[in-house]
Symmetry: C2
Amino acid sequence: MRRVGGACIYNASSNQQRYRSRDDRGRSRATTMGSDYGVPRELSGLQKQRSLYQPELPPCLQGTTVRVEFGDTTIAADPADDHAIRQAFPHTSGQPLAHFLRATANVPDAQIIEEHPAIRVGIVFCGRQSPGGHNVIWGLYNAIKSHNPKSTLFGFVGGTEGLFARRTLEITDDILSTYKNQGGYDLLGRTKDQIRTSEQVNAAMSACQELNLTGLVIIGGVTSHTDAAQLAETFVESKCQTKVVGVPVTLNGDLKNQFVETDVGFDTICKVNSQLIGNVCTDALSAEKYYYFIRLMGRKASHVALECTLQSHPNMVILGEHVAASKLAIFDITKQMCDAVQARAEKDKYHGVILIPEGLVESIPELFALLQEIHGLHRQGVSVENMPSQLSPWASALFEFLPPFMRKQLLLHPESDDSAQLSQIETERLLAHLVETEMNRRLKEGTYIGKKFNAICHFFGYQARGSLPSKFDCDYAYALGHVCYHILAAGLNGYMATITNLKNPVNKWRCGAAPITAMMTVKRFYGPGATAIGKPAIHPATVDLEGKAYEWVRLRASSLLMDDMYRNPGPVQFEGPGADAKSISLCVEDQDYMGRIKLLQEYLDKVKSIVKPGCSQDVLKAALSAMGSVTDVLALMSSSSMNGQTPL
Amino acid sequence: MRRVGGACIYNASSNQQRYRSRDDRGRSRATTMGSDYGVPRELSGLQKQRSLYQPELPPCLQGTTVRVEFGDTTIAADPADDHAIRQAFPHTSGQPLAHFLRATANVPDAQIIEEHPAIRVGIVFCGRQSPGGHNVIWGLYNAIKSHNPKSTLFGFVGGTEGLFARRTLEITDDILSTYKNQGGYDLLGRTKDQIRTSEQVNAAMSACQELNLTGLVIIGGVTSHTDAAQLAETFVESKCQTKVVGVPVTLNGDLKNQFVETDVGFDTICKVNSQLIGNVCTDALSAEKYYYFIRLMGRKASHVALECTLQSHPNMVILGEHVAASKLAIFDITKQMCDAVQARAEKDKYHGVILIPEGLVESIPELFALLQEIHGLHRQGVSVENMPSQLSPWASALFEFLPPFMRKQLLLHPESDDSAQLSQIETERLLAHLVETEMNRRLKEGTYIGKKFNAICHFFGYQARGSLPSKFDCDYAYALGHVCYHILAAGLNGYMATITNLKNPVNKWRCGAAPITAMMTVKRFYGPGATAIGKPAIHPATVDLEGKAYEWVRLRASSLLMDDMYRNPGPVQFEGPGADAKSISLCVEDQDYMGRIKLLQEYLDKVKSIVKPGCSQDVLKAALSAMGSVTDVLALMSSSSMNGQTPL
């Protein structure tokens, strides 16, 4: 038994009850089971205020009656992947999109979900804690209870390990009271964040069956949703009745595709980091003696770094996607930075702010190759001490060139998805070190005339993850929680809850659900004479180097570098001006894929209704001719040859 | 010439005009002098909103008529120091306190300041940028102009170096417009922050004389005010007409004494840091796998660490004052931390948050001794490479024991006040390293049974200094700027602007001025058979280990450690609930020294008015008897023997 949020948790997997307290915050209390269920934790004044905030809901989720409209069956973004995905997910791929509409919506095929039997739902946190996660639970809880007060929501305590061990906490309004609109994942905690091996999948299935769950909701990012899709498929195959639903919650912002515009947590993380970057910019300009190298959390993709650039206007940002596309070596990046420092020194500027995404280290070709060798040795069970001697001559030379702290960090065991431990590798210190060495060399040689280069390094990540969620993330997460309920009420399995048109006010948001398999792609490895195919999976969306957000940076690169256009978005506000601000990349990008899919359907319906049997021959001819050329163009555009890019 | 805030600065010390731009933020502009004076910089939405905020003023500063009341002449806090201070500051010590009152105040001896001739005032930033600094300039500017529109305010560009070089920027409302209520010192910048050598003092004096300044306002902390007092004394001696006024602005919060309750910037810094610490606490509790070691800015004293503890309730804080008082060695601290980690592990807790003030390294006796040796070698001109071999055997043994990064940092050149470069010495990494080593040893030996200890280190400083100032700091700084004007209008020299009763609403604030020399103490060094006396100076106020703020922490130490009482104050709010929050240590401590001094005067006056010639013999006898015993007790209490402590 473990106490969480003041409540007792029965550990079903252990015969002996375990006592563990997490909420004994200075209060004396008995440790017997259930004696102080739901004791609230101490909140600060602002936390209390926030706990009273009632998130807005889009119109379709207000009230208890919701209509569901099924769209067309989905296909893979890249037709070439479709076959592999259908093979891997015979039961759960190719399912239709679902749209949730108001009860009053005048849509002929949309049905009102009439039946609301009492259901039992489990929910689990997977992956990096992202601000807003608690609100998904709250939203789901409210939706469940308002449709049938006899329904029950169980939180799995301790993430996926809690799921396997069947450690549950029944969610009540009391327990939620001090977690509403609050950051972190501490209501339930999280652990391994993986449901992948057959042992793990079976443990999850047994838990769902034993607890007789109607639905299992997985709160997580890219890898967790690949796991969720696999789980959904296995459940159908094994005739397990539990439906699996995913919710896009990840601070990395990299679970982004045709159906998902942004992830819960991304907005807050970028705002908190941009505030700090803005502060550092002001600091740099005040003392004019330091270059700040700031590494930002965000895993492989550079969405966080890009959004923070848009919000705070630092002097430079090195996007992993740009480095990978341009195949820049570590020396190219160093040289580019040194030239920038030199150009600024010529204008008598000895300060600056440079952003670096944590994924950069994997985007630099030679470092990536070195990491691959090291991870290979890890898989072979080679001990860390013996690794340096077993590297290839080329990798060994690079390894020896790197400063000691970097060597130690590169040797760390890779994460469960085989990527490097990005949060532990101080790429910003490596770059600052290389730039310093090079500037000192130039100074000595006389090719640089100016003051000594001074760098200060930062990693912004852990200090933002636990932040109070912004209003946007509070609303978005709460509404997604509601959508989860309707997905389950509609009996869908292997779906992700989606809300689109997010850049507009909440009353314009569109709620729906998309099969997780429709977001998958297949990686191909081209070898000499053969092509290997990876398992279908959701892959992190990379920053679109042709998109509007990056275009803004590209067009202003030299002003950003030279003119100190620093901008401080300030601390996240909950009332008054600024409280409703949304992330810039969300607003500049013209997404609303789901809205367009619906609009297309309307056009097609219109054609059908105009060109009915009985219409004139001319109208029919014109329709045929027009539709013929439209289909030709679309068929050409959708052919594999034009589909090499990552989605979005 | 240099462009600042969109303005042109004439560099009076150089015959050749220097062109330097700082504001060319993507705008095309001519670089000829004065052509784009006051071009505003780009602000974010929230920055813009803040720039429109009009700070509140206490009643005595509203309107243009102010009464000044002079109190008693001041003495040193420790009578033993009085002689040395009077000797060092014959002209500027022993001056009376001044209180600024409303024109309508019914105080017999208070005079209305009637004359407001046009004056010329210079202002300069010294020391670490602290949020609110810009508002001192704005407040002073408004007060100057509202009393005589012909008066002029000059900002020195580039801190003390700008002062020596007479680089001035005339402050206008246009120039201020995008700096009102904004963080940083970037309107004017700052550099060396020292006016101490006779060369520097003379350069400052020539600048004041050449610019024909009525007053010079120094914005800074502890050391800058010692410099300011010296400057004031030298000016009188040299018959320079310029009056010197200081304003207590330092994020460290260590310029604190009978007259100064808190410093501009401290409130904001603690709030921003507490937000981040609160986030990290939430993070720790969500993933339950890391110990976070967080070092906080604040120089020698631990005020910032203490206030952040009160606001965010981490598991542990190691105050430098406590370590110094208890003479804890580095191994004692390590052991204490390891025992804490072990005790938590026994309760199945593998996470935690530990705060460390940056000054800690100088409070640990053996590290301080090592630093002293190293600084001695620096003074002898020994090169860094040769230092390790020239250390005493004892110091050398300690040095060799330390990890390489620490050795490198300890060898850094000391700062201008001979203290170590505290911001560059990663004490948090040292402690995390030592704790990890010890926990691994215990694990191997079997004396610790539990999961591996994992630490993540942070230094919170640079990311908070440039922050938008809190409402409190905006108001406090703006009002202090006004007070500066009235000090100059009253013709005072060597004074610090003060506002007391700060824990109450602005309409209860009391404005005044205190001679800087009254805040000085003299350090004594006891050697065998002789006592050396240091120069009188303002010394950083240390945390009062007997005070109410520390008492709160002491009483809850074990709950904080074991029960995870984490509290997240959230981001600084400017509107709605929480916007008016003040720092906790300001509110729990019962200060208002200035208010009490005034109250005492009222009692004395009352006695005098009751016991007038003509009163009855009995009344006179009673008065004599009562006053006799009061004076006896006070004389005893004020004798040197009872005055060993640091002030406050």
